[in-house]
C-alpha cells in the first residue's frame, strides 16, 4: 500500500495543473501564497502568468466594451479589432466600482476552480486507495487458495485462514 507521502506526490500533480490553469486564465494575482508556493516548487515562474490580459480579464473588458458601444456596433466588431483595442491601450482604466466587480467575479471563479481541484483530488485519492486495497486483498486470497490446494485444505479452512 502506498503511504500518505507517496499519495500526496501523486495528488500534487492535480493541484499543480489546475493552479496553472487558474494562473493562466485568471491571472497570477488571484493565486494565494500557498498556490504560488506549490507552483514555484513545481518549477514554474509565476511572474506574469496569464500575461497583461488574462482571458478572464479580456472577457470582462469585452463585456464592458459591448455595453459601451451597444448591440449594433458590437455585432460589427471582429475579434482582431478587440485585440487591437487592448494592445493600443484604447480602453479606459477600470473605475473603483468596476475594479470591485471584477475582483469579486474573479474570486468567485477562483473558488469554483479550487472546489473542482479538491473534488478531483478526493476522487483520485479514493480510487487509488480502493484499487490498491483490492489488489492487496486479491493477492492474499490467491496466496491462501494456492497454499490450500497444495495442502489439500477444505474451502472452509481456506476461508478461515484468510480471516
Amino acid at each position: 500500500m502506498l503511504g500518505s507521502a507517496q499519495i500526496e506526490n501523486i495528488l500534487r500533480h492535480i493541484s499543480k495543473n489546475i493552479l496553472l490553469y487558474i494562473g493562466v486564465n485568471l491571472g497570477e494575482a488571484v493565486l494565494s501564497e500557498v498556490d504560488q508556493t506549490i507552483l514555484t516548487a513545481a518549477g514554474f515562474n509565476i511572474a506574469g502568468l496569464g500575461g497583461l490580459f488574462p482571458p478572464y480579464y479580456k472577457m470582462f473588458l469585452l463585456g464592458r466594451l459591448t455595453q459601451m458601444v451597444g448591440d449594433y456596433n458590437s455585432q460589427k466588431l471582429d475579434y482582431t479589432d478587440f485585440e487591437k483595442y487592448l494592445e493600443k491601450n484604447q480602453y479606459q482604466p477600470l473605475t473603483p466600482f468596476e475594479e470591485i466587480q471584477y475582483t469579486i467575479a474573479r474570486k468567485a471563479t477562483y473558488h469554483h476552480l479550487k472546489n473542482l481541484e479538491n473534488r478531483v483530488r478526493q476522487e483520485v485519492e479514493g480510487d487509488i486507495v480502493n484499487t490498491l486495497t483490492r489488489v492487496e486483498y486479491e493477492a492474499i486470497i490467491r496466496e491462501e487458495i494456492e497454499r490450500g490446494v497444495k495442502e489439500r485444505k477444505s474451502i472452509t479452512n481456506i476461508i478461515s485462514d484468510i480471516g
Binding site: 507517496q6 506526490n9 492535480i14 495543473n17 496553472l20 482571458p55 475579434y79
Partner: protein, 49 residues
C-alpha cells in the same frame, strides 16, 4: 416556455468565441496533463514501493 439563457447563441459570436474556445481548449489540455502526470507518478511510486 422560458428559454435557457446558456443555450442561446451568443450575441457577438465573432467576439466571444475565440476567448471562450481558448479557455475551453486550455481546460482540455489541463485535464489531459493531469491524467498523464498522475499516471506517471503513480507508476513511479508503485515501482519504488
Amino acid at each position: 416556455m422560458q428559454q435557457n439563457k446558456h443555450l442561446d447563441p451568443p450575441r457577438y459570436p465573432r467576439l466571444i468565441l475565440p476567448i471562450e474556445e481558448g479557455m475551453k481548449r486550455s481546460f482540455t489540455v489541463t485535464a489531459k496533463k493531469i491524467l498523464i502526470d498522475v499516471t506517471k507518478q503513480l507508476t513511479k511510486e508503485i515501482k519504488q514501493k
